[in-house]
Structure formats: structure tokens, C-alpha cells
């Protein structure tokens, strides 16, 4: 092979250098996808972060028989998976950039996690401003607290009498709640229009006996019964903890 053969081949086959715009388009596409993936990762992280803020970590014993089971049932797997997926995509695309390969795995991993975290926190602040997302998570919390057969009820106090209160739950049903047995520290929580959570026993249709009443840290403005949000109920069973408290309180009085 000599030089002339190669030059001749280029000429006879009319070969031309691939246009600069083709390479430029490829570079721009990679950076565009990289940006989209980073924003998506941040979005997923923001969702995961906000959802985590609304998990009832302090009251896990009312929902599950162990903390681990509670965690397993509450971790927002979809958002965690999407976050990890976007991180992998960012990692892959960054390696495909012109000089991305020069950086180590640890560096790229750390930077992409840092950017997604920071942007995620900023986005979550924006989401807090947009009540839709918060309302959704608060509703989920309310739904979890509204399972009378499992010993949990929540909602807005409509009316207070000596021995009972009227309570409107998230499904817009009104409950007659017997409060004659509640623990003494529950009394202060009961106020008109307060949004509360109740531990107790389901008696019969729309009748409930309370053992313990706690405030539910949910913004009253966003308590909208019968809202359109569809939520999943994770915890259907009464825990031993609820049963023990109620047996102790009701039998004790």
C-alpha cells in the first residue's frame, strides 16, 4: 500500500470528511440528554425527599409490627429507582462527552449525586410552594390514618361533647367517636376544627371508641375530604401495639 493508493481510493469513491455539523449535533445531543437526565434525577430525588418528610417515622408502631417492616412498606421505591436510573444515565452520558472519560468513576458519581441532590432540594422547595404535591402526600398520610377496622381514624373535629366528638374523615364520612376512655394527655388535642389522629376500636358503622388522640401535623387548609387523589393503603391490620394500648385504656377505666 502506498499513499497514492489511499488518496486514489478517496478520490474514486468521492469520499468526503464527515461534516462538522454531524459531530456538533452528536455533542449537543449528548449534553442535552445529560441535562434532561440530571433534571429528571433531581425531580425524582425531590419527590423521594418530600415523600420521606411525610412518613410517620415517630408513630411506626401504630402501622407495623416492626420498624423494618414499616420502612419496607413506606420507602417510595419507584422514585428511588428512577433516581438511581437517572444517576446511571448521567454517568453513562458524561462518559460519552468529549473528555468525560478523563474523570474517575468516583468523581463522576460524586458530582452527579451532588448536582441531583442540590437541584432536588431546590425543586422540593418549589414543589412545597405548589400545594398539589404536598396535598398528595398529606392525603396519603391521612388515608393511612383512616382505617377504622385496623384501629386508626383521622379527620377534622366538627363537634365536641363531654363523652363524644363528631369527626369528618378524608372520605367525607362523619364518625361518632366515644372519647370517654381516652388517655388524659389526649384531651388537650381535641379542639373544634383541629385535624387529629385517633387510636381506638371500631364499634359498628361510623362509631368508634378512642383510646388515644394525637394531633396530625397537616395543614388544615389542605384538608379536603373526598379529594380526587388516589392513594394506596399500606397498613390494613391492627398492630399488637394498638390492641395493647386499647385493652389497657378501656379495661383500666
Amino acid at each position: 500500500m502506498n499513499n497514492d493508493q489511499i488518496i486514489q481510493k478517496i478520490k474514486t469513491e468521492n469520499l468526503k470528511p464527515i461534516s462538522k455539523s454531524v459531530f456538533l449535533f452528536r455533542k449537543i445531543s449528548i449534553w442535552f440528554l445529560l441535562t434532561i437526565s440530571t433534571i429528571f434525577g433531581a425531580y425524582a430525588f425531590a419527590f423521594f425527599f418530600l415523600k420521606t418528610l411525610y412518613i410517620d417515622f415517630d408513630n411506626w408502631q401504630y402501622f407495623a409490627s416492626s420498624y423494618n417492616i414499616f420502612l419496607m412498606d413506606n420507602i417510595p421505591y419507584i422514585w428511588v429507582s428512577l433516581f438511581i436510573l437517572s444517576l446511571l444515565l448521567v454517568f453513562y452520558l458524561f462518559k460519552k462527552t468529549n473528555k468525560g472519560y478523563r474523570h474517575s468513576v468516583v468523581f463522576i458519581g460524586a458530582v452527579s449525586i451532588l448536582i441531583s441532590f442540590s437541584l432536588g432540594i431546590v425543586l422540593s422547595k418549589v414543589f412545597i410552594g405548589k400545594a398539589y404535591f404536598i396535598e398528595r402526600f398529606e392525603n396519603e398520610k391521612l388515608i393511612n390514618w383512616t382505617n377504622p377496622e385496623a384501629g386508626r381514624l383521622s379527620g377534622e373535629v366538627l363537634f365536641i361533647e363531654d363523652q363524644y366528638i363528631l369527626l369528618r374523615d378524608i372520605k367525607d364520612e362523619v364518625w361518632n367517636v366515644d372519647i370517654s376512655y381516652v388517655l388524659d394527655n389526649s384531651i388537650d388535642t381535641i379542639k373544634n376544627n383541629a385535624v387529629i389522629s385517633i387510636i381506638g376500636k371500631y364499634d359498628y358503622e361510623n362509631n368508634f371508641t378512642a383510646c388515644q388522640i394525637m394531633p396530625l401535623n397537616i395543614d388544615k387548609i389542605r384538608f379536603k375530604p373526598n379529594s380526587k387523589h388516589k392513594t394506596v393503603i399500606y397498613f390494613n391490620k391492627e398492630t399488637v401495639f394498638i390492641k395493647d394500648i386499647c385493652d389497657f385504656v378501656i379495661k383500666g377505666k
Binding site: 489511499i6 469520499l15 464527515i18 478523563r102
Partner: protein, 188 residues
């Protein structure tokens, strides 16, 4: 001719963009180096070697607009060659085979700083050189290619990083692992 000799690779790349004939200057400059490199990486006969080399230079011409001047031109042309060799293996479904016969003195450099394997005096024995050669051929392919680039092509970590598109730290790790594995195989 003196003028062309004085031109940098970058200057030649700019010339090729304007006129395909200028490619012959790049061919002159890199033909011997790439011939040796391709032979080391493929161990093919003369005919196949020429074909591969011709395809590499045509790829250089076709992709000249992708050449980033912040990179060393030599690394860029080696990267094209490296990628073409991988494509060639894939396309021809040939068994990976390397050739280390052209410059046996370079083999010694791989283990020269490690006296625990073979001491300095006996390292130069033909028998030992043949043993090292044989064991390099038994290494995984990515270890073979990195040893070839480092010890036969005399490339720096930065250049290998640009050719193989991996970080310099990965280059260091791979070279050390390759040397360690080679040492284990020799000591077996």
C-alpha cells in the same frame, strides 16, 4: 518538503480538511508507527495489515472534522486505530492474537522494576523472554492492549487515557493489575 516537516500534526489536520492530498503527509508520519501497533495488536499477515492500515487512514480522513485540537493528534490517530482493530476483530470473528516479536528488548521493561520475579541478570535470557511473551499472550485482552501501549508504544498514562478513553487512574490500576497477573502466571 522542509516546510511540511516543520508543520505540526495540528497544522496537517487543518491542511487535510482543505485538501485530501495532504493526507499523504500524515500517512508518511504515522505509517510505520501504526503498522507496528496494528501488527502487535492483531498479528495478521501483510495483506490484512495493509487493508487495516488503509481503512484506518480513510477513517482519519473521514473523521478529520471530529479531531479536537486540545487532544494530542497522535493519541487521536491511535484511538481511531484502536477502535478499528476492535471492529476488525468483531467483523472477522477472528481469535485475538498479538505479536511481540518485533522488539523483544521492550518485554524486559515490563518486569524490570520487579526483581522478585526474575533477577536482572537472568531477565535478558532468551528463555525468560519467551516465557514472559507466552504469559503476556495468556493475559486478558484489555491487559494485553494496555501493556502494548505502555511498554511497546511507549505511551504516557495521559496518552493511553485518551486512546482507550479511560481515566488516567484506571490506566494506572490496569497496568498494575496486568503486571501483577503476569507475575503470578510466571511464578506458577
Amino acid at each position: 518538503m522542509q516546510e511540511i516537516k516543520d508543520k505540526t500534526d495540528n497544522d496537517l489536520a487543518i491542511l487535510v480538511r482543505q485538501n485530501p492530498e495532504a493526507l499523504s503527509y500524515i500517512i508518511d508520519r504515522y505509517r510505520t508507527k501504526l503498522e507496528k501497533y496494528i501488527n502487535r495488536r492483531t498479528n495478521v499477515d501483510r495483506h490484512d495489515l495493509e487493508d487495516i492500515l488503509q481503512d484506518v487512514f480513510i477513517k482519519v480522513y473521514r473523521n478529520i472534522n471530529d479531531y479536537d485540537q486540545s487532544l494530542v493528534f497522535s493519541s487521536w490517530i491511535y484511538r481511531i486505530t484502536h477502535n478499528h482493530i476492535i471492529d476488525w476483530y468483531r467483523k472477522n470473528k477472528k481469535h485475538i492474537s498479538i505479536s511481540l516479536d518485533d522488539d523483544e528488548s521492550k518485554i524486559i521493561h515490563i518486569l524490570q522494576d520487579d526483581n522478585s520475579v526474575i533477577d536482572d541478570q537472568t531477565l535478558h535470557d532468551q528463555e525468560n523472554i519467551d516465557l514472559i511473551k507466552k504469559e503476556i499472550k495468556n493475559l486478558p485482552y484489555d491487559y494485553q492492549e494496555i501493556l502494548i501501549l505502555k511498554f511497546f508504544e511507549d505511551k504516557s498514562y495521559e496518552e493511553i487515557s485518551d486512546i482507550l478513553k479511560i481515566s488516567t487512574s484506571s490506566v494506572g490500576v490496569k497496568i498494575n493489575r496486568a503486571k501483577k497477573l503476569l507475575k503470578e502466571k510466571i511464578l506458577k
